[in-house]
Amino acid sequence: MGSSNARIKINIKTLFFVLLIGLIGISLIFYLYNFKSYKPITSVIYHGHEISFRDDLREAVKVPVFPSKNEINSVMMNPSVKNVTILYKLTESSESMYAIESFEIIFKLKIAYLSNNMNVTLNVQNITSYENLKGNPENPIVALVHPIYSNETAVRVEDHTIFIKGKNDRDFDLATINFLVGALDINITST
């Protein structure tokens, strides 16, 4: 077999055309990503703070809230609030999701309270049952319901007690974020 010495010739016009098409393509991607709602929203500006979340806020706001998002805000940001207790039922295996969600809730709620000149303490405790939980205007309760105890993904407000539930770890995350969206009165439009 004889060797072949093939050459591809690209003239300058073709090269320019290819680069131009590439540039337009990248610009289009950039435009669509940033301005056409494809980009996940993971942070917002709240009272001058950039607050970051663990997941996309657009996805989080799809988690249903009962009775309403406003109810979360009225419970958590009521001027009479003095102490917030976060409760969770031990899983007897790993409590890492509780640690993650507790950090997220406490850190962001504390900023919200400081921003609104509210002197509110926050603490976390474990419990053996989610039954008969009842908060009051000064001491609302946030109950974290681990996926192993939940058959729904939702945020429910009852008797100054807010239940955050997820059917899996990601839903649990999203439910927590949507609780914070409600508490901090962040306006996000889902797509």
């Binding site: 990503y33 996940p40 504390k110 976390v124």
Partner: protein, 776 residues
């Protein structure tokens, strides 16, 4: 939807690449310590970081994460201070008045006018259709600043003195002559000259050649304030109405309160107007100077003056009598007890010559002294003379103490000598310094402590090293001296030797070669600030009186031997003859010139003529200590005349601190992107893989994973990022057991009180609760 995911994936990839590249380009900060952690992780995190929790976290880790969350959130706001605003002076303010100057040094030789303080008028008044110039001034030339120790009520404290003879005069000065006002014995009530004295109306009705001025005083209700049956003249609670009138006659009714709400308390008729009537039971007099009435008796207007009996027409003379409260005698200004009215320049009866003055003079019954921050207010709040304080609030606070058993090292940390006794000169105020004689700038040869120390090798003579000067090296934590002359002279190293001093300090000595003066420079801030010399003059040829003198500008401290200086013993020193007890003569100071005063038992601070302020000698002398303050510049007094605005006190408010990307992550979820950030790791290497990476131990496998952490303890450790993230750090909060992690997290939550002062990269926390936790 598929298209959206493709786009999102592309952008995430691009973002990831950029984020990985960025840290390499970023500046490289140092690791720092826990105390400096605020600039990195725990304090004011200006850039993003992540908190990492082990996937196998326990309940204690949940609580630990909560503790740290609270801490970090609180750091998103910080207390900021709004400094108070000093009161602004409306008027004249000077800060160059000498410590015992009279205020004649003020502009205008102490006579202050409208252009010094606009509250003083320079205007005209009208009389019988013509305008007459006048001006107001305040003469404070007689007021004096004092600090004489020997004077009672001064006792060495800087004070503003007001003598009983009248050092402050408000003056209403007639700039244009006026004639036709009547005489003191035959006043002209028809055409009183109405002026406002310190803002209060006065009606002048006559003058005499003997410097007398007749004035209507009380409630002067004339002309547009003339009374009728409906319009009263009000004096205190009494309302005087004109009920009926005629030619040179007026009947008045005195009501307590107005006619609408009060009650009639007396009535009377004044005949042969101008004349007066006294209502003895009420203690008031009504003087009528003119009446305008219709023929049927209706009063159109009656000019009256209502006041205390015997005082509605008062003649003032050249000297105010404020000692009497009798209204017929006293010259007191209305409503005042220490201010009186006197006149000057009235030399022709019936006229007011140009330059004539009505003066309101301050004549307290005994000499008054105003301290710093005090003021003297003119009547009717017409202005105030205030003593604000000194021209500087920057003082070096110096403490001199006899010391024993001191060791001196050279600059290479070799011990030169130990067991030395002598004196310590300690600069207690943070900004101030003690310097060697060659200290010429803020950067070189200024120290917090200087020492003059004595060796046991014999009496001081030149070049034998028996007297040493040293300075405290804050970094090395020891007194540094050197035996080499050149290192000080050429390099300005940390200290000087006696040889150097002997050779170079004689310039400061006025005596023979047998006395050496060792000068220490005292300065508040070094460059630009005044330097004072604290001179220790040491004698040779004696073993018992080796301290000739210890002097700092007009202040002398009587330090002397407590023990004899021998070849076997270094001497100890004491203040005064008796050591522990306080003696009058152990400290002296020159105050207001002359012979120095013995101030050793003074309770309060004593200001010397030089501006050195000796701090409470009696409180310090018993401990052999002398404390004094050296001002940053030539000490002067700050005074003002006018009004002082209000002072706002400092306040605090919460200000937002920029915080970004604080998100919690499971160790199993921490991506390469996130590993390039600062991290806070909760949990030890047995439960958290990132902790294992940071501590460089095996993950999960016990006991290897617990290496470096003892049972019952936890660590809080700041380490460089194990992921080659340049300049990034990992703060590991890890316990041997979960409850230890919890306790350490609580310590982190109380960073400000428990960790902020720790200049280490790692601490061990023992215990399982924050209250019981011990930090080492």
């Amino acid at each position: 939807m598929k298209f959206e995911k493709i786009i999102a994936s592309l952008m995430v990839t691009l973002t990831t690449l950029m984020t990985l590249v960025y840290p390499v380009l970023a500046a490289v900060p140092t690791l720092g310590t826990l105390a400096s952690t605020p600039s990195t992780v725990l304090g004011k995190p200006a850039e993003g970081f992540y908190i990492v929790i082990g996937k196998d976290a326990k309940a204690e880790d949940v609580a630990g994460a909560a503790d740290i969350a609270v801490r970090l959130a609180e750091l998103s706001y910080e207390e900021k201070n709004i400094p108070g605003v000093s009161a602004a002076v409306n008027g004249l303010e000077r800060d160059d008045v000498g410590l015992n100057d009279a205020l004649s040094v003020l502009p205008g030789s102490g006579v202050l006018k409208n252009f010094h303080y606009t509250g003083l008028k320079d205007s005209t008044f009208s009389w019988r259709g013509s305008n007459y110039d006048y001006h107001e001034d305040v003469n404070v030339a007689g007021v004096k600043m004092r600090h004489e120790f020997a004077a009672s009520n001064i006792n060495g404290t800087e004070k503003m003195e007001f003598q009983t003879s009248g050092d402050v005069l408000y003056e209403y000065v007639f700039d244009k002559a006026l004639s036709g006002i009547g005489t003191a014995t035959d006043p002209n009530y028809s055409y009183p000259v109405n002026v406002n004295l310190l803002g209060k109306p006065f009606a002048l009705v006559g003058s005499s050649a003997a410097n007398e001025l007749a004035v209507l005083q009380g409630s002067v209700c004339v002309d547009d304030k003339a009374i009728t049956d409906k319009v009263p003249c009000i004096y205190g609670k009494y309302y005087v109405y004109a009920t009926v009138g005629g030619t040179n006659v007026l009947r008045v009714a005195v009501w307590e309160g107005s006619k609408d709400t009060g009650s009639l308390v007396s009535e009377g008729t004044i005949m042969n107007v101008p004349n007066f009537i006294n209502f003895d039971s009420l203690g008031i007099s009504v003087r009528v100077t003119s009446v305008a009435a219709l023929t049927e008796g209706t009063v159109i207007g009656a000019n009256v003056i209502v006041g205390p009996i015997g005082s509605t027409l008062h003649t003032y003379k050249s000297s105010a009598d404020v000692s009497s409260s009798d209204p017929t005698v006293t010259d007191r200004f209305s409503g005042e007890t220490d201010w009186g009215i006197q006149v000057s320049g009235f030399t022709t009866a019936g006229t007011i010559p140009a330059g004539a003055k009505i003066q309101v003079v301050y004549k307290p019954t005994e000499t008054v002294y105003k301290l710093e921050g005090d003021k003297l207010s003119l009547p009717n709040n017409y202005g105030e003379l205030g003593f604000e304080g000194f021209n500087t609030d920057k003082f070096a606070l110096i403490k001199i103490t006899p010391v024993t058993s001191k060791a001196v090292y050279d600059s290479s940390d070799n011990l030169i000598a130990s067991g030395l006794n002598g004196f310590e000169i300690y600069s207690e105020s943070p900004a101030s310094s003690v310097g060697s004689a060659s200290a010429t700038s803020a950067a070189t040869n200024w120290y917090t402590k200087g020492y003059l120390l004595f060796n046991e090798t014999g009496v001081p003579v030149a070049n034998n090293g028996t007297v040493m000067v040293g300075f405290y090296d804050d970094v090395k934590g020891r007194i540094i001296g050197t035996t080499t002359l050149t290192s000080f002279a050429q390099n300005q190293s940390n200290t000087v030797t006696s040889e150097y001093l002997a050779a170079n300090m004689l310039a400061f000595s006025s005596n023979s070669y047998s006395e050496f003066t060792y000068p220490f420079r005292i300065s508040y801030g070094g460059v630009g600030d005044t330097t004072f010399y604290l001179n220790f003059t040491i004698r040779s040829g004696t073993t018992t009186n080796i301290v000739q003198s210890v002097v700092v500008s007009d202040v002398t401290m009587l330090y002397q031997n407590k023990s004899v200086w021998t070849s076997a013993n270094v001497p100890e020193f004491q203040l005064g003859a008796s050591g522990a007890s306080t003696e009058e003569t152990e400290v002296t100071a020159v105050t207001e010139g002359g012979t120095a005063d013995s101030i050793g038992k003074s309770v309060q601070n004593v200001v010397a003529d030089s501006g050195i302020i000796v701090v409470s000698p009696s409180a310090n002398g018993g401990s052999e200590i002398v404390r004094f303050k050296a001002p940053s510049k030539a000490l002067k007094v700050k005074v003002y005349f006018g009004t002082l605005g209000s002072t706002t006190t400092s306040q605090t408010y919460k200000a937002m601190v920029s915080v970004t990307s604080m998100v919690a992550k499971l160790d199993s979820d921490v991506s390469t992107l996130e590993k390039a950030k600062n991290l806070i790791v909760v949990g030890g290497a047995c439960a958290n893989s990132v902790a294992a990476d940071a501590l460089n131990v095996t993950f999960k496998t016990f006991p290897a994973c617990a290496a470096g952490i003892s049972s019952g303890t936890a660590i809080i450790s700041l380490v460089a990022s194990p992921y080659n993230a340049t300049g990034k750090v990992v703060l590991v909060v890890a316990g041997y057991a979960a409850e230890n992690t919890r306790a350490a997290s609580s310590v982190v939550q109380q960073y400000s009180t428990l960790l902020a002062g720790v200049n280490k990269t790692s601490v061990v926390v023992t215990g399982t609760t924050v209250n019981a936790a011990a930090i080492s």
